[in-house]
């Protein structure tokens, strides 16, 4: 492959990798190339809002839900053990009668 063609290909890749904001029949679409990211970076007081939902808070809530679920699992695992101990005790008393 000669130099010109390589350069041409490189240019093409550069072009395809450029991010773009496009409008399609009034829809607004933000696009990046194959390996490029779309990133939202907020300052300490700045926020990203999607239709009045604060994205940062949503992410926070997802994590909180996850933590709550972990705790719930733990209590549910402990619960039957605790109860079965009590029932076992009762059973022993019955046998002792």
């Amino acid at each position: 492959e000669d130099g010109g063609l390589a350069l041409q290909r490189q240019k093409r890749n550069i072009d395809l990798q450029q991010p773009r904001m496009t409008a399609e029949r009034g829809n607004l679409v933000f696009l990046t190339g194959s390996a490029q990211n779309i990133e939202f970076r907020t300052g300490s007081l700045g926020r990203i809002k999607l239709n009045d939902e604060d994205v940062g808070e949503c992410f926070h809530q997802i994590q909180k839900n996850k933590d709550d679920i972990t705790n719930l699992k733990r209590s549910i695992v402990g619960l039957p053990q605790n109860i079965s101990n009590q029932i076992h005790q009762l059973d022993s008393k019955l046998v002792d009668l």
Binding site: L16, A23, E24
Partner: protein
Amino acid sequence: ADKVWVPNTNFDDATNWSQNRTPCAGAAVEFPADKTVSVLVREGHSISDMLLPLDGEFVLASGAGFGAADAGSRPDCGTGARARFLDPDRFLWLDPLLWRPGDAASGLFSVDAERVPCLHDDVVFPSDASFRVGLGPGAGTVRVRSVQALGQTLEREEDLAAFLASRAGRLRFHGPGALSVDPEACTDPSGCVCGNAEAQPWICAALLQSLGGGCPQAACLEPLRPEGQCCDLCGAVVSLTHGPAFDLQRYRARLLHAFLSLPQYQGLQVAVSKVPRPPRLREASGAKADTEIQVVLVEAGPEIGSVGRLARALLADIAEHGEALGILSATARESGAPVWGGS
């Protein structure tokens, strides 16, 4: 030969904006709702408001972007008036003013019809600019050898068709006309006819519209109208009938190096191409060929007389070396005396 598309639809190009300047910081910006366009953004812009087209795209070069500035945040930005992006559909393929040759040599020019890409030309849309091209007016098909756009070279009909049908293609090409590629190169050393004769009325209409209406008055008596030229011009036309040994490139190079480089011909420009021979001249000369080589000589500056001298020098050159050059016969026409005070 390469023909390179000149205009762009870049955000950062002042000529794309009303008032001929890019939106200043804090400006309100408006793109026409119903004009489809791809816009390259190469710099950063602070705007207070921007209406986007319903169908369009903004491609961001690295470092480019948009920031939110409240209206009137900069005192130097003027008041209120929206910066309007001009109609991106205003650029027509058939407008000779919108193309430049890829290999422009000083001293060479093209007649108007050949400033627009010819049948055997490779067309280049530079990849460092966004663009939009109107095919038409008229529903005819424009044929070229290849099209380079977005860094890809399209030289197969199916590749071009796929590109034109894609969103990228639809953002950049529009109009009733069609575009087609035929990868056949011009293999005739004596040159190939451009092939724009049928489109010439449209080409001239586009050119004259840019010039503001009709042809400017030629500044000489008995001006000439070379084949492929839209308006009369002052200068000389040398018409060559050639044999099989004629080589257009070599003859063009000979004109540049053996004649135009001489001090007495500084400021002259020459266009050399194979053109269809007008029927009346064909009958008059009794020649069998339906094409001829047209050499158009014009003066770039106000000097007078050197065009005529060059035309006669070329005839003398042909008389002496015609056989070696493959030139069978030559005739020359000159425009008349200058009209002073003409525009």
